[in-house]
């Protein structure tokens, strides 16, 4: 096992078959499934890790073949990583990512949202957390207008039915002022 490469093809003894929503079958190494809490629990409950147990294909009705392909790519890259631990609060502010991760997640927003849902469904905490962080990193520090552009969201400010003038819902400056205020780059002590 020591010379195992991340791309080693699974053999029938150490794998299970999963079926995507569009009916495509994927042979998945049991070692890879350890990263998915959903799959790991399923394998343990049905004793799929025993060689004498018949391994029925696992239907993943929420995941398309394209998403499954993308997820397998993630699982293989992180095959030898230590088990994911939830980091402390300081970690949450870190927006630095491995180059591989940045390239992996250089995908359109809707694909990213789908991948996030898939990561949530399969319970792959490292992938889930990374996507959340990368999404936050693309939005943080931007004004409402810039966020609308990044997320392709149209404003839903309603016009007054009588005057046609946009309704100001909240007059506080946190509505109008704060977002336009830029952060100073180097903080002096308070």
């Amino acid at each position: 096992m020591s010379c195992e490469e991340p791309t080693t093809s699974p053999t029938p003894e150490n794998n299970i078959t999963v079926v995507s929503s569009d009916g495509k079958e994927f042979l998945l190494d049991l070692k890879l499934t350890e990263q998915s809490e959903t799959l790991a629990r399923l394998i343990s409950n049905f004793e799929y890790d025993r060689t004498d147990v018949k391994k029925d294909p696992v239907p993943l009705g929420n995941i398309t073949s394209a998403q499954m392909q993308k997820i397998i790519e993630w699982l293989q890259h992180h095959r030898y990583y230590p088990k994911w631990e939830q980091n402390d609060i300081h970690y949450s502010t870190s927006f630095t990512f491995e180059t591989w991760v940045e390239e992996y997640l250089n995908i359109p927003n809707n694909e990213m949202f789908e991948l996030l849902n898939a990561a949530n469904y399969l319970n792959i905490p490292r992938l889930f957390s990374t996507i959340c962080r990368i999404m936050a990193s693309r939005i943080t520090g931007k004004s409402a207008e810039q966020i609308r552009t990044v997320l392709n969201i149209k404003t839903d400010v309603k016009n007054d039915v009588y005057t046609g003038i946009p309704i100001q819902e909240d007059s506080s400056s946190s509505e109008d002022g704060m977002s336009e205020i830029s952060l100073s780059p180097s903080p002096p002590p308070i």
């Binding site: 502010t93 849902n117 997320l151 969201i153 977002s179």
Partner: protein, 350 residues
């Protein structure tokens, strides 16, 4: 792949996780993107990661500063004859016509307090009773702003289900009310340090010291002080400006106790100070060291572990009391007392 997925259609777990990586300012920006996001954020109120907040208040402006993720953010709400000018980051100016600057400040600050669920490292409130830019001329109109703000702050802090938490709180003020509208409503379990300073430029000290010393926030803190504000251009030892204070030390020696005492004895503002310590440093017990330096103490016949020395203040009708209790919680206390409080059979040293 085509889908109608967007940020707002994500499951709550996912959206919450994304929001948990946001700083306060970004959350506020996101809140303005669309109605659904605003409703979600208003429901969840994600915890802000602001660690320091500072407020400076006078009759013409309020400056709100906060530090989050190592970045300082500064917003000034200034009076303008046409309304309120909001200045952010020292550059972006915005006139809000017909708006009162204190109200606009409060709208922002109240919102900010809602998100402040974790403990702050520092919370500083400075009431600028004297105009620092105008030879410390008294700002007579500050009450028109500060009275209203204090009522709002007090109502807000006292109504919180989980009291505001901060490790260090500093209040620069002139009146007791300015301290008592804030300090008693801070979570006493988290306060480590309380600093109260007289407003810069003030000559009279108007605090009710015993009332402050009686607060749980003061009692639970380990390093606190009430100080007379000094002119920073003439640096002087902060001990000389100490009105009251407390300190916890691991070890204490007789020399330090005596030298600190002599500073308090030469200070015109000093009233009360106590030092809790675990063990004595130097040769022998602290009590022994003090007897060697100060002579025989007064013992009252009831508290056998309590040794007291009395000294006459120069040019004041007060007596300085130095007391050492070495049983239980070991403490050295200094206190300015009236001559009639000195027991009849005690000697007052020169």
């Amino acid at each position: 792949m085509s889908s109608n997925l967007s940020l707002i259609t994500l499951p709550d777990t996912s959206l919450n996780n994304v929001l948990s990586h946001f700083d306060y300012k970004s959350t506020q920006s996101l809140r303005k993107v669309c109605r659904d996001l605003r409703n979600f954020i208003d429901d969840v109120i994600p915890c802000s990661t602001v660690i320091k907040i500072s407020l400076r208040i006078n009759s013409k402006f309020i400056v709100l500063k906060f530090i989050e993720c190592g970045v300082l953010m500064e917003i000034e709400y200034r009076y303008h004859e046409k309304g309120c000018v909001v200045v952010g980051g020292g550059k972006n100016e915005k006139l809000m016509e017909g708006q009162e600057f204190a109200r606009i400040f409060w709208n922002d600050f109240e919102e900010m307090l809602k998100y402040q669920k974790s403990a702050l490292e520092e919370f500083t409130i400075v009431f600028m009773h004297f105009d620092a830019e105008n030879k410390l001329k008294k700002d007579e109109e500050i009450y028109q702003v500060s009275t209203g703000i204090l009522e709002l702050v007090k109502a807000n802090l006292s109504a919180r289900i989980h009291p505001l938490q901060t490790n260090f709180i500093q209040i620069n003020a002139l009146h007791q009310n300015e301290v008592m509208s804030i300090l008693p409503f801070i979570d006493s379990q988290k306060v480590e340090r309380v600093t109260i300073m007289s407003a810069k430029g003030s000559t009279e000290i108007e605090f009710d010291i015993p009332e402050i010393l009686n607060l749980e926030q003061w009692k639970k803190s380990t390093r606190s002080g009430i100080f007379k504000n000094t002119d920073l251009s003439s640096p002087s030892d902060s001990v000389d400006q100490t009105i009251a204070g407390k300190l916890y030390l691991v070890a204490l020696d007789g020399g330090s106790v005596v030298s600190m005492g002599s500073k308090f004895l030469n200070s015109s503002v000093f009233q009360f100070f106590e030092i809790y310590y675990n063990e004595s440093m130097g040769g022998g017990s602290l009590t022994g060291q003090l007897i060697e330096k100060l002579g025989e103490p007064y013992k009252d016949g009831i508290h056998h572990s309590k040794r007291t020395w009395f000294f006459q203040y120069d040019g004041a009708d007060n007596v300085f009391q130095l007391c050492n209790d070495s049983s239980g919680e070991k403490v050295v206390s200094y206190k300015r007392i009236r001559p009639e409080e000195v027991p009849d059979d005690a000697d007052i040293l020169g």
